[in-house]
Symmetry: C2
Subunit: 314 residues, 2 copies
């Protein structure tokens, strides 16, 4: 199989991270951005990302120069789309902008190319319905940055050809991502639905004065998340009873059913709970130190992903 | 401050892990079990645990022999309780059994001793209400094993003296645990409520045919959990918007509110969803291989905790 050709539309942070990820998997990548300024800034950003990834051995044994050599800035949209197998769109999360771009993508990309959006906020049906090639359109939503975090939700619209879902999932596996094959579109897809359910309970616990925001963070960080980072929640409960998941449900379903009625209220995210969370967070981290904390998070996350991809999974 | 004296009641897996944790923190530990067989098996088990912990540098620089030297098997309940500062009870999760044991603990332990239960299933009010010393009773619930996972929920009954909560939280910090100071008791405490909210959504996604169990595990393991293992959910969202948590809520509350109405149904945990989860899990891991998978999980978790406690948090 020759190297897949990829077009990346939008060369911000997500677009650049996708470029690293596709190039790491041996793909030839063309980048396009409506802003020539953004497009021209991409190569330096990509090289920096690739260097950081190489330092923690996340380039599948390749050098940053090898990665950079597979990525070019296209002369225009048509140039970017010439002969491509897969288009990864990372435009702003506004339906009208997406619709305009997707009309162009469907018109200009080769008929056999898959068209994928990185959107987290829009359903694939919303921007693909009226397109001639809507059967080849879907969402491939990463947790940012995809170069670092493996999971990618592959979300079909009702009219997406299942073969297109499979091709996309295989491409994701080839470049080192872990595809989630969703059976149909739904608000929040899978990961934000799980995060949303957890956050609703987190806000409720604070709002009802049962625990502080820091207590919630301790319970996840120093309690539940280490196992989840190794296994996910179903494998976790499967190993938490001698007879596996069925045994776990028999033992503990009662406890979860008991608490469920008090977990149905939709929490108020912007009232007193938010005041308390913000007060606590700003005491721990002043607003102007957020960029530095983000950089620290990114380097800790890179070290953790190196650890999880290597030693622990081996 | 001289070494705190601890009595551990019940010397199964949790009791032994507590013994390692308290001894690691410099406490003198006496173990008691109604079954002399179980009590006499404890020292070998504790030594094995301590050896495993030492191998991944989780004994705060001490040797397994130093840990073992601080732990003794008591001659009986009275002997175990003589002069203790803190009692950690790990009896079976049956209210009648607990009530009987707690009556003895309250009668025999020194007046100044804190009485703590490791229960995950019972509220502290349920077994302490009628005790003379109920003001000194609470739950200190670990995620097993406490020797490895830092989070411990400190849960007061309505009549628990707040100073007893603080003393327990300080003791937990001293021995390397991370206490969660709950303001009041509630079914599931904090961690199982958060886990329950996540599992409800996980079961719903499978039950509604939106994703497979493995897809759910990918979304957490390869998507959300790595950040949570570094930071917890509130710190995560605080760093996911330029203006911190208030900015994040302004940007994304709409998405979570949109999906919330479809997250209110209480999932059926034992119907077709369980069939599907069990079929998938047993294809991945036959029932008779669960013990081996648990051992592998424990060693991976130990390596991960070494990593998280050391390098990444530094």
């Amino acid at each position: 199989m020759s190297a897949p050709k990829i077009a990346i539309i939008g060369s911000g942070l997500i677009g650049c991270a996708w470029a690293v990820s596709f190039a790491r998997g041996g793909c030839d990548v063309a980048m396009y951005d409506q802003s020539a300024l953004a497009a021209n800034a991409a190569p330096a950003r990509i090289h920096e990302m690739a260097r950081d990834m190489a330092a923690v051995d996340l380039l599948m044994g390749q050098t940053p120069d090898q990665i950079a050599a597979r990525i070019r800035v296209a002369k225009g949209l048509e140039d970017a789309l010439t002969g491509v197998d897969h288009v990864q769109e990372n435009a702003p999360e506004k339906l009208e902008i997406k619709k305009e771009i997707w009309a162009d993508l469907d018109r200009l990309a080769p008929e056999r190319a898959v068209l994928a959006s990185s959107t987290s906020a829009l359903l694939p049906s919303a921007f693909s319905e009226s397109l001639k090639g809507r059967h080849r359109c879907l969402v491939a939503h990463p947790i940012n940055p995809p170069s670092l975090i493996p999971a990618v939700e592959v979300v079909p619209a009702p009219w997406t050809d299942p073969e297109i879902v499979e091709r996309t999932a295989h491409l994701m596996e080839r470049i080192g991502q872990t595809p989630i094959r969703m059976k149909r579109e739904i608000d929040g897809f899978l990961m934000n639905r799980l995060q949303g359910a957890l956050l609703q309970e987190a806000f409720r616990l604070v709002d009802q004065g049962i625990a502080s925001p820091e207590d919630v963070d301790i319970g996840i960080r120093d309690g539940l998340a280490p196992r989840w980072a190794l296994m996910g929640p179903f494998e976790t409960i499967d190993l938490n009873a001698p007879g596996g998941v069925r045994d776990y449900v028999a033992r503990y379903q009662g406890m979860y059913v008991n608490m469920a009625p008090s977990q149905r209220d939709i929490a108020d995210w912007s009232g007193p709970a938010l005041e308390q969370i913000e007060t606590e967070r700003r005491a721990a981290l002043p607003l102007d130190e957020i960029p530095r904390a983000q950089a620290r998070r990114d380097s800790r996350l890179m070290a953790l992903m190196q650890f999880l991809r290597g030693k622990v999974r081996a």
